[in-house]
Symmetry: C2
Subunit: 217 residues, 2 copies
Amino acid sequence: MQSFTEENYLKIIYHLSENNEGAVQTNAIAEKMQTKAASVTDMLRKLSEKELISYKKYQGAHLTPLGRQTAINVIRKHRLWEVFLVEKLNFKWDEVHDIAEELEHINSPELVERLDEYLAFPKNDPHGDPIPDKNGNFDFVPFIKLSKLKKDDKGLIMGVSEHSSAFLKHLEKLGLTLGKSLTISAINDFDGSVEIIVENKKTSVTREIARHILIRI
Amino acid sequence: MQSFTEENYLKIIYHLSENNEGAVQTNAIAEKMQTKAASVTDMLRKLSEKELISYKKYQGAHLTPLGRQTAINVIRKHRLWEVFLVEKLNFKWDEVHDIAEELEHINSPELVERLDEYLAFPKNDPHGDPIPDKNGNFDFVPFIKLSKLKKDDKGLIMGVSEHSSAFLKHLEKLGLTLGKSLTISAINDFDGSVEIIVENKKTSVTREIARHILIRI
DNA sequence: CTAAATGTTTAGACAAATCTAAAAAAATAA
DNA sequence: TTATTTTTTTAGATTTGTCTAAACATTTAG
Ligand SMILES: [Mn+2]
Ligand SMILES: [Mn+2]
Ligand SMILES: [Mn+2]
Ligand SMILES: [Mn+2]
């Protein structure tokens, strides 16, 4: 059994290796964990000892199959609890992440399976992220960042890659929520900001925000 | 904010002071916490420092109003989660305690209030224990131990004072579940065992078991 | 290819929660 | 009321996760 801290390290290593291939660096982990590089080094040694990661000094970390499975299980729990909070307890999508950060460490396989069933085996969480099934497999639905679209492109909002409450509240206010379909009416050359039509209303987001909105065409 | 460990100490001190009035002793806490007296002494000093208990060396502990409120809140969460597990996820009454021991430490007042509402403000948990409301008040319903009843007395099972899975499974098998009405058909002088009629079927429990079944007449 | 900058690890310390063994206090019995 | 037993506390270690400061390794630039 792992401590909450170990689970959080594994989860972060998993997310960092999702994007960039290759080894996950000490400093990258330190930043996400909001801790110091020296602490990360200590933990990497420990996780390596437990065969949850492979790690050689100065070479960064890779999850082992066991570490990967552990990380995916934590992510599964996180996302299922987020669905529960939104679907059953009527929380908004910007209110659930921090609570799920706690709930994801509850250790009861039976609870997870029953929760999954109770929620009717959801495929995605309230932010569009895929929920791995009990064997750790998830449907990968391809997406493209809103910032990559061209004028007159159409698409469907299928997720976000930033989960802060401020960001999500902002999207909500603009009507840019999951499942909405949109059309790019213009792209501003100067600052890269994007003009969008959603539900016949015109709105606009900065390039930075557009980078965090995930679209299916 | 308190650690899980501190919360567990407060909860145990609360339960130990429910029955016996007066100060809660170091050894009693050690037994419930499954730890050593020396560890308890350390923790009592710490809780006292935080003004959650009043404590003088060799004199045992008392909860302060703040400590009491904290303990009751943990108990509220424990019992609400047990209701959730039984009512919504179809767990049996003997399966929920250990999971609730983890869930009770989730720290989100908003979550607790929404869960309470979602469950329609239950007054009792699956073991008949009262659930304090958000202000920490609970309806006290008087009860009597089954072991105190006499021949031909009638009553309603309203709770249990022992929560082990083995005990609860045993009651389940005998049909002695919450809300059932029963009649005492005989009491065995020799060993104190009690013969009971529940739903027109005769069954029997030892004196020790009878002590842990709570009855409303 | 050397020098500077960046990234990582080691050394040594600390706080939290625990333990064992021994000392001290309080309760009980003779 | 003294002696014995029980309960509690202290002293000193240990484990986990963290930190700072300094050393070391790797990468990048000149
Ligand atoms: Mn989240
Ligand atoms: Mn999410
Ligand atoms: Mn319980
Ligand atoms: Mn209960």
